[in-house]
Amino acid sequence: MRTHPRLLPLKEGLNKLDCYAKGGELPICPAPSIKDQGPDKAMKNSDLFSPQRQSIAAIILILLKFVRMLVRQLWPVVLVLLFNPKGNFEVWIGFVIGILAMISLTGSVIEYFRFYYWIANDHLIIERGFLRRIKLNIPFDRIQSIDFEQNIVHQAFGVVRVKIDSAGSSQQEASFDALEKRQAEQLRDYILAQKAELVGKDVSEEERKEKEARELILHLRPIDLLKIGVSQNHLRTAGIIFAFFFAIAEDVNDALKNADIFGRIGDEVETLARGSFMLALIAIPVFLLISFFVSLVRTVFVYYNMRFWKTVNGFKLESGLLTRREKSAQKDKIQLIGWSTNPLRKLFGIFKLSLYQASSVEVLGDKSIAVPGCYQSHVDRTVASVISEAPGAVYEEHGIHPSARFRFILFAGILPCVVLSIVGLVLERQLAFAVWLYLPIAIWMGHVYYRKKRLFLHPDLAMLKGGVIGDEYKMLQLYKIQAVSVNQSFYQWRRDLATVSMYTASGEVSIPFIPIRKAEQIRDYILFRIEKDNKSWM
């Protein structure tokens, strides 16, 4: 057993004395806690209670992290050096790279040797940093989730990256670059078991059984992977690619202020574009084709061999080709469940299922699990295991007012058409008229929007249906709602209509254009449910 590398500073020493005097212990007292853990646990996990370093592979991973960061920060500088016509740039580059390599290497070695973690009194303690020592002290009951991640380097060394997500401040998030897989599992099992005891639920036995008890809901077959890839939102991918190139062009442009290559290229493109429609006609399909393949490849990388389990108190998702990701969701943290299709997915009969977990911090995306490629039966099974009332539930249906159609057409159809045709008049006459071809599509979309938007109310549940091109469903238990609002735009107010929004700890759902009387009744009913049961929402 290694000893603590540092003498306790005076203040902590005093605290320790103090807490002994009171007959209790402060969480920072490291060593004596072993005795209090009960003989079996202490023996099994003894190495968790003394300061530990990460796996030696961490040096490599930290180094990689450094290099990636440096490259991201400094590549314009390197580019400038490369393009600098004067000066013997080879020497320069060699020099710069040498220094950077030295810094990275020493940095990662120091980082590795200055990183310790241990467990004391139901707290996870991490000490790290060279110039600025950081000591994280995370009580188990604040730990929300412990996630593992493996990229290809991790896999080669049999180590995992561990992310510990704790409620409260976001900067205090703890993570390990590399822990031995066995050690990481031990740490997680111990923390979760202790946490369960702390919370008062007697699930530590169940936790242990969890691994056997978990049942596979979905294992993605290659054909399903293909279906997911094909049915991705390729337009979004196109947008991302576009934005990416734009950002790069901007960066390079900044870096090469003198050599105004992009200005010149831009001029060329502009003259070309003004000259012919043909370019656009060729470029758009090519671009879409590229987007299609990019999203296909991305899907394979992210969702390869995806497995989705139901565990004792939640769900677990594992997927990835080079980087294996493991994410978990706890059942009582899930506030909102959504599932959606688009036309292609509908054709294949698959849904994308999302489980939205409560998050005290602003990062919403990170806290939700998205499971693509679910068939109806998977969706039903998952929903049923979170919301026990859902199977066979009978709902009261509320549609929206027909005037919503006109509103949609006005804002998503007429307004953009007017704006675009004004722009068109300035640039290209024909374009100004062509834009209006979009209007019939908008009218159709407005109609679909109106027809699909529905609220289904059950004594304990609310389900929202919507979507224009695809179908979107969201379901929640009424007692998990945090607040309800009834809002009226001027237009709605004139027609005695309103929008009801229900806020949960992981997002909001709303139903627009329902009569104000009904909106108030729904609000009153939801408030009544929350207040009467006084059930804990998490």
Partner: protein, 177 residues
């Protein structure tokens, strides 16, 4: 299951529920309206002064500062209209189990937060508010920004009372659990 015609009818007798429809809304302090108008006036004055100083420095064609003046004045007037027209629509209501706040003239908002979903409550006071003896009560839930309530324009002791009342309610709820 989800897709088919399960959506029939279960009678929820909505008419028997306690309604928040015909509530007695408590308006905000009249001095809060004066405070809002004053701050618009100050902003307007600062911007106009800024433009006036900028004229000899920048040497732009004359229509530019004139346009800037016009924009500032039009926006300030619009704000004044919104404040005066919107003020009567602002107000809050307390019930046994929840608190409601409403605001907005062209876009009306009404939000209701049950006491057993309130995370914490605090009182804030800006420099101008202190001069007017007014405070702002913030009520936070776990539902994110959209579901938090800010009640401005309360007298200091009014805000304090409200805060204490809410805290008493929320702790009472906790003990019941």
């Amino acid at each position: 299951m989800m897709q088919q015609e399960i959506f029939q009818n279960v009678q929820i007798d909505l008419s028997l529920l306690p309604s928040a429809g015909g509530l007695d809304w408590k308006p905000l302090q009249q001095s809060y309206r004066r405070l809002l108008l004053l701050s618009v006036g100050l902003w307007c004055a600062v911007l106009i002064a800024g433009i006036t100083i900028a004229i000899p420095v920048t040497q732009l064609p004359t229509w530019v500062p004139l346009l800037a003046y016009a924009v500032v004045i039009v926006f300030s007037l619009l704000q004044v209209i919104f404040i005066i027209k919107g003020f009567p629509y602002k107000g809050y209501a307390l019930r046994m189990h929840d608190i409601l706040y409403k605001t907005g003239w062209l876009y009306k908002k009404q939000i209701a937060v049950p006491f057993n979903r309130i995370q914490h409550v605090d009182i804030r006071q800006g420099v101008f508010e202190r001069a007017f003896g007014l405070s702002k009560l913030n009520i936070y839930t776990a539902g994110g920004q959209g579901s938090d309530i800010t009640i401005p324009g309360l007298l200091d002791e009014e805000a304090q009372h409200l805060k204490e009342y809410i805290l008493r309610k929320t702790t009472a709820q906790d003990e019941e659990e």
